[in-house]
């Protein structure tokens, strides 16, 4: 019964996460991080390892939730623990993944999740590199428009363009450069 309640609570937290609610993120983070920290410490890992590991797991969770197809069938703690364990073992063993004789592993089929994560991770890295190579003011301009959803008017003012139309043209030029940087690498990896 208490398990069931916990899952209900976990689901609510996840809904919060899907809405990018800061409070939900904080609760999930604070409740689950100590468990992972302990696991990593027991396996000769440092506090920073634990942080990296847990944050990667949180990214996986967050992206799955954002996609809207994530159905929680176990406790959130179990899911995060299993993902972290998986990531940790992978890190320890390099890329050769050896099957775990762990019950957690059997109850949580993570193959798809991990594969998807790897693919997205690759895309993320390419985008990160492309953004890094783009330079200013393009980087901030694009971030402002596409990520922070600011209006063209605001952007024109911020960057000192005479009007929104000019800013828009500049934005498209930047976009084309970024696209080129991105796809040059993206198509290489295929």
């Amino acid at each position: 019964m208490s398990d069931h309640l916990n899952i209900t609570r976990d689901r609510e937290l996840l809904q919060g996460l899907a809405r990018s609610d800061d409070k939900s993120l904080e609760i999930i983070y604070l409740e689950n991080f100590p468990v992972i920290l302990r696991m990593v410490q027991q396996n000769n890992g440092s506090d920073d390892d634990a942080k990296d590991l847990f944050q990667e797991a949180m990214i996986i969770l967050y992206e799955k939730v954002q996609q809207g197809d994530f159905d929680l069938y176990s406790k959130l703690k179990t899911f995060l623990y299993a993902v972290c364990r998986r990531l940790w073992l992978k890190k320890l063993q390099g890329n050769t993944w050896v099957g775990l004789s762990d019950n957690l592993e059997e109850t949580l089929p993570l193959e798809e999740t991990m594969e998807e994560h790897e693919k997205r991770d690759e895309q993320f890295r390419i985008m990160q590199r492309s953004m890094g190579n783009l330079g200013e003011p393009c980087k901030t301009l694009l971030a402002d428009y596409y990520l922070h959803k600011r209006s063209m008017q605001d952007i024109a003012e911020k960057f000192g363009y005479t009007n929104a139309e000019n800013a828009k043209n500049q934005k498209y030029k930047c976009l084309m450069r970024l696209k080129k940087l991105f796809f040059d690498q993206y198509n290489d990896t295929k």
């Binding site: 983070y29 027991q42 944050q55 967050y62 992206e63 954002q66 993320f124 990520l147 498209y172």
Partner: protein, 363 residues
């Protein structure tokens, strides 16, 4: 450049859903007709998705770092004792583990040693050479036979310590038998089924395949042409075979079949034969239904009845080919004088028994 910007703008408005219904329909029609445009739309879609994802992830990372700072900063005093308390048991654990590992290592090594020893003992217990230890009763029998055959050459009255079987591979006195039969021999005698005994010497021995080649010391010795040949091809599983040997002082016939293509413990130069053999059968020829030599009996398994082992004739042949030139008998084992294949078994035996000898070993 201008065109490209225009196109990009158009694609973007389409993806963002800013077009009117009519514009939208016309754009979609164009998209369907123009694969290049379609690819560009898809590209833009993927790109924007990745960009959004990038933004969200960066945002999340920053947020998490902020949260993490909250946990990390109020606990610096806590972190140190935790570390200390974890490092201590770890050291103790390592010592314990090392001790446990040592014990495990010693235990497993000794287990392996014991197991291997036991296995070895078992192996030797399972395999038995079928040479015969001649006893007093046989001695009197033997003496009797010798007396009866007073016309022929006599063997010494002492019948020897061990007995085995051998068969001729040439007309001038070359005989093949098992190495374990002649092992440690002071002197060797071979005796045919008429009771004629000849002194022989071992001229070539191959311990690994348990074979020995004997030569009758009498240089004037001459027998009939060999009625058989050494069959170079392996015989098939289930093929009927027979043997003749001297488990007694008299030649004994036995019939069986090839039951496996490998010998004791998977030995590839031997067959497993289901045939009754007894001490004294060592070195006996194994023949197929046409009277060709297919192997030479070397031993049997003690743990089960009717399982004997025979070295393959192909190996025998290879051994003969490898023999030093000056010792080599004439290659008479590749052809045969008689056509045994058309004969009945009784006639075959009659032809063959003259070429099968009892090997007697004195030491």
């Amino acid at each position: 450049m201008k065109d490209q910007i225009q196109l990009l703008q158009e694609i973007e408005s389409y993806l963002e859903g800013q077009l009117s219904d009519a514009e939208r329909a016309s754009f979609e029609a164009r998209r369907q007709a123009d694969p290049v445009l379609n690819a560009q739309v898809e590209e833009q879609q993927l790109f924007l998705q990745t960009l959004q994802q990038y933004g969200r992830r960066t945002e999340l990372q920053q947020q998490m770092d902020r949260i993490h700072k909250h946990i990390a900063t109020p606990q610096p005093a806590n972190v140190v004792p935790i570390r200390k308390s974890t490092s201590y048991p770890r050291r103790r654990m390592i010592t314990n583990l090392a001790a446990a590992a040592c014990i495990a290592l010693v235990t497993s090594l000794s287990t392996i040693a014991i197991m291997q020893r036991a296995a070895k003992q078992k192996t030797t217990a399972q395999y038995e050479d079928v040479r015969r230890v001649l006893n007093n009763i046989q001695r009197s029998q033997n003496a009797l036979i010798n007396n009866m055959n007073s016309t022929s050459k006599k063997a010494p009255a002492n019948p020897g310590t061990y007995g085995g079987t051998g068969f001729a591979i040439s007309t001038n006195g070359y005989i093949i038998t098992n190495y374990h039969v002649v092992q440690g021999a002071d002197s060797l005698y071979v005796q045919n089924n008429k009771g004629e005994a000849y002194k022989a010497t071992s001229i070539f021995e191959d311990i690994s395949s348990d074979l020995a080649i004997l030569k009758i010391a009498d240089s004037t010795f001459k027998s009939q042409p060999l009625p058989y040949q050494l069959k170079p091809q392996p015989v098939n599983l289930g093929e009927e075979v027979f043997t003749m040997g001297y488990p007694r002082d008299e030649i004994v016939y036995g019939k069986g079949y090839i039951s496996a293509q490998t010998g004791f413990n998977g030995d590839t130069v031997a067959y497993q034969v289901s045939i009754p053999v007894n001490p004294g059968n060592s070195g006996a020829p194994l023949m197929d239904s046409e009277g060709n030599i297919v192997g030479i009996i070397t031993g049997k398994q003690t743990t089960s009845d009717g399982i004997a082992f025979a070295v393959k004739s192909a190996h025998l042949k290879r051994l003969l080919d490898e023999m030093p030139k000056e010792k080599l008998p004439r290659r008479e084992w590749t052809r045969k004088s008689a056509h045994l294949e058309s004969m009945s078994r009784i006639d075959q035996i009659k032809k063959l028994e003259d070429f099968v000898y009892m090997v007697k070993v004195y030491n």
